[in-house]
């Protein structure tokens, strides 16, 4: 993508940014995250439909922050992640240059949070049809079938935490699972530990997840955990009208309320 390489080269040459986080060639045709510091290396940047990894996760890594002010190649979900992180005070105004790319391949350089909000409102959230289908299929199952399905999938989990590590929203330096006084949720990968972990993660991500699908992509065992966070996101959208990653002003579903929130399930 010529325009992207030129933009990156200029930003580095003018010292607007010290590092460009983008995608480059990886093993066997897969893309991988690359960190360009020399303007001459800007040619290594690529962009195609395989570039799906949510790069926003690197913006909060100490080792990357030390490199200096970043520019980041961002698809729509990545831009939404950045907005959500800004709303949660993890990214300061003007600290990142976003090289946003729309699904039809158009590149826009965004420097302010206001402009990122404008960008996402004209590029609304997109959920992959196959994920919505899977969600529907599970919702149509009986309670028992759902339990068996999830137990089957989650019992395979071996607690590598790739789902957590790859998620830009999981930036806690000390995750709840690592708290052992008391041990809320067991870090062991037995059935109970796995079920509790995934419930806990879905709840802690609730209202903050932008449905980039990275957790499921990262999982080495192909467990469709993004369906849990997708379900929760859809619920929050339907019940409270809130969608993560659209506004840089925080309106977190679980720390706000409306006095007339529905409550048919409460006696």
């Amino acid at each position: 993508m010529k325009e992207l390489k030129e933009k990156a080269r200029d930003l580095l040459k003018n010292k607007d940014v010290q590092v460009v986080i983008g995608y480059g060639d990886g093993t066997g045709g897969k893309p991988r995250a690359i960190f360009i510091r020399d303007p001459k290396d800007a040619d290594r940047l690529i962009f195609d439909e395989k570039c799906e990894q949510n790069l926003a996760v690197y913006l909060l890594k100490h080792e990357v922050k030390k490199l200096g002010r970043p520019a980041i190649v961002a698809t729509v979900p990545v831009v939404r992640s950045i907005i959500q992180l800004a709303a949660e005070n993890q990214i300061a105004e003007g600290s990142v240059v976003i090289l946003a790319i729309t699904p039809d391949g158009k590149l826009t350089e965004i420097k302010t949070l206001k402009d990122t909000e404008t960008f996402v409102s004209s590029n609304p959230p997109y959920t992959r049809p196959e994920d919505l289908e899977k969600l529907e299929r599970i919702e149509k199952m009986t309670v028992e079938e759902r339990w068996n399905y999830w137990l089957d999938e989650l019992s395979r989990c071996f607690k590598c935490y790739a789902c957590r590590s790859s998620c830009p929203m999981c930036y806690c330096e000390r995750c709840t699972i690592e708290c052992n006084q008391p041990q809320w949720v067991s870090p062991a990968s037995h059935h109970l530990g796995n079920v509790e972990w995934h419930i806990m993660r879905a709840m802690h991500i609730a209202g903050r997840c932008v449905n980039c699908g990275e957790c499921a992509r990262a999982c080495p065992l192909d467990i469709p955990i993004n369906l849990l966070t997708l379900k929760v996101s859809e619920d929050i959208r339907k019940n409270f009208g809130l969608t993560a990653g659209m506004s840089a002003t925080l309106e977190y579903a679980l720390s706000t309320f409306k006095t007339d929130d529905k409550e048919e399930f409460i006696r």
Partner: protein
Amino acid sequence: MSTFEPKIVAFVCNWCTYAGADLTGTSRIKYAPNVRIIRFPCTGRIDFMLLLKAFAEGADGIIVSGCHPNDCHYTSGNFHARRRWMVFRSLLDFMGIDTRRLQFSWVSAAEGARWAELVNTTVNNIRELGPFEEYRQLRGAGIE
């Protein structure tokens, strides 16, 4: 015929439901003894992980109860709790946990009779659902 008596854990707020349950007692209203009550300052304090722990430790059913909306002693704790429960309940349902085992309610300090009715109805419902074997079986499973 087996005489299964469900174990119910009740997470209640101090100012309304706990006081209401107190009133039930002082009014000498009899109700099912299956419930163990845990007192919290407010429903807003109730973490969903505590509910999971209750199920893991052998609860067949859970009651979560607090002040009616607009009556929270801390003004808005129950509003936050309500949202949290909506999300949590829906997630559990999606994962195949029978949400009839989770009973949410608002019981005020004056509703002594209502607390008894709530407990009795819940105990009957859970008795019919049977022991929560599926969740309990998770314990010890997947360990060599």
